[in-house]
């Protein structure tokens, strides 16, 4: 019998500005939950502006950890644009909303398993 897919943890990237502190808080949330590579859905809907230091910290976070099972959802236009410009999709899977992310992660869709 197939083992059920683990339920993705839901985290939030606090806004309204993506700063280094926001990214540090996200990293702390990841650490606190001891996610051990389990699926994570990060809601980005409150991030309406991007600070270079925050974007740099997010890139560093992505490169320092295994984020292949980490899905960013509900990106605002400002964050979406920066995500495209710096290529965040190389490290994070990006979905339109949490429902799409949950469905993908739980169904084990090939496209969801990694960016």
């Amino acid at each position: 019998m197939a083992r059920p897919a683990p339920v993705p943890a839901s985290l939030t990237l606090e806004g309204p500005m993506l700063t280094r502190a926001c990214v540090d808080a996200l990293a702390a949330q990841l650490d606190a939950r001891d996610l051990a590579g389990g699926p994570v859905v990060v809601d980005c809907r409150s991030v309406h502006d991007v600070d270079p230091a925050g974007l740099c910290a997010l890139l560093d976070l992505a490169q320092a950890r295994d984020t292949t099972r980490c899905v960013l959802v509900a990106l605002t236009p400002a964050l979406l644009r920066s995500a495209l410009e710096v290529g965040l999709a190389r490290w994070f899977a990006i979905c339109r909303d949490a429902d799409a992310a949950h469905e993908l992660l739980q169904n084990g869709h090939a496209a969801a398993c990694g960016p």
Binding site: P52, C56, P77, L80, L84, W91, I94, R96
Partner: protein, 424 residues
């Protein structure tokens, strides 16, 4: 019905190719809108084209893009992957269109599931291509014939050939956003051609573009928005990208030109045109007057210590500064090996040849060519912009800065860098 424009796996960024004055992606969105297909998911895979597509999709100003769902991906996901990530409803019909495929003509009503084969427009020998309508996220087995034409825009040469067909009236379903002043001669809004300039059909002069007296433009030529063709220049069977300046005496034939970059339409070979007197980007904003004055003041302030160091360097038989050509500009680079090396760069700033603040990396310039105007600056903001030990992070942040550079951002970073230094 939802639609997904997914990246063609072997042809990233195809949606940026110009079809008679508008990007292919906008043409695709127009076709979908004409057929009442909404919402539309647009996949953008990571690559050098992503920043340009981001500017097009999220820069505002294009009504067709309202309601589009932009989906970044690391590599092309295909129809099923992109639809799943965009949250397209399962079990409902979904139109899948590759990013390099332009289709015309009305969809049947009701639009039944199946693979739709489309023939190339008259005069094009391209292979038959297809799009699909499916509710199962997998390509359906049944195949139908679509009433309109379709063409895979696999290169700039194909895009140029189709653009000329559009101007000639051989592909009437594609709208030209310009006025036809003579058969095959199209002038966009704000475009001006001197009375003594020759325009040979088919030709499209883009919005705000200018053709000066004595220049010859056409046949089979597309001038992008705000392009400028100087006196005596000849442009034929060519595509000139927006904001490109074609200098006096330049002779362009069967090429695509973007700033100083030239690509042959015959074989796709690319090269960087070295002579800025013949070709360059018009969008060189130049150094701000305030920055030039400030640079001059700093040069005056540092002149004495720099002169003393330069004399010592000379006495050792070593060069004080070297001159290199970068992005068509001859720039000075200090060779003292100290912080006073900024003085020659400041002289360039005072001359208006480079900026005062910004990240500096010659390697990056090659990568960014065609993406954004990033010129070497006198003072490097990298420590404030990308305080990261990871070179890949720094490179990506430089790209980001190049796309977002503004006096306000530069000052903010300079202030942050200064505070960082004071704080140790």
């Amino acid at each position: 019905m939802w639609a997904v424009i997914f990246e063609a796996a072997d042809d990233l960024g195809a949606g940026l190719r110009d079809i008679a004055g508008r990007p292919l992606l906008i043409r695709q969105l127009q076709w979908l809108r004409d057929n009442h297909v909404a919402p539309v998911v647009v996949e953008v895979s990571d690559g050098p084209h992503a920043a340009r597509l981001a500017a097009l999709l999220l820069g505002g100003g294009e009504p067709l893009l309202e309601g589009c769902i932009v989906l970044p991906s690391a590599a092309p996901l295909g129809l099923a992957g992109a639809a799943a990530r965009a949250g397209a409803p399962r079990g409902e019909p979904l139109l899948g269109l590759a990013s390099d495929l332009l289709v015309s003509g009305a969809l049947p009503a009701p639009c039944r599931e199946g693979r739709y084969r489309v023939d190339a427009p008259p005069g094009f020998a391209g292979a038959r291509c297809e799009f699909s309508v499916t509710s199962g996220r997998a390509a359906p087995a049944s195949a139908r014939q679509h009433a309109g034409w379709g063409l895979r825009i696999e290169s700039h040469a194909t895009a140029h050939a189709l653009s000329c067909a559009v101007l000639d009236g051989r592909a009437p379903d594609v709208l030209v956003h310009a006025a036809q002043v003579r058969p095959g001669v199209w002038l966009s809004r704000g475009a001006r051609a001197a009375a003594a300039a020759q325009l040979r059909a088919p030709v499209l002069i883009g919005p705000g573009a200018r053709v000066l007296a004595g220049a010859t433009v056409g046949p089979q030529t597309i001038l992008g928005g705000r392009a400028l063709v100087e006196r005596g220049a000849r442009v034929a069977r060519a595509s000139v990208a927006e904001d490109t300046w074609v200098g006096e005496g330049a002779n362009l034939y069967e090429v695509r030109v973007e700033g100083a970059r030239v690509e042959s339409l015959a074989d796709g070979e690319q090269r960087l045109e070295a002579d800025p007197l013949l070709l360059r980007a018009r969008r060189t904003a130049g150094t701000a007057p305030g920055a030039r004055v400030l640079a001059l003041l700093l040069v005056c302030l540092l002149a004495l210590p720099w002169s003393l160091s330069a004399l010592l360097q000379r006495a050792r038989g070593r060069p004080v500064a070297t001159r290199r050509r970068l992005q068509g500009q001859l720039l000075w680079f200090g060779a003292l090996g100290s912080r006073l090396d900024c003085v020659p760069a400041l002289l360039d700033v005072a001359r208006g040849r480079r900026d005062l603040l910004g990240p500096t990396d010659p390697g990056l310039l090659d990568e960014l060519a065609g993406l954004a105007e990033l010129r070497l600056a006198a003072f490097d903001l990298t420590p404030a912009l990308a305080r990261s030990p990871n070179p890949d992070t720094r490179r990506r942040m430089w790209c980001w800065y190049a796309l977002h550079r503004s006096p306000g951002l530069a000052l903010r970073l300079a202030w942050r860098g200064l505070l960082g230094r004071l704080g140790g």
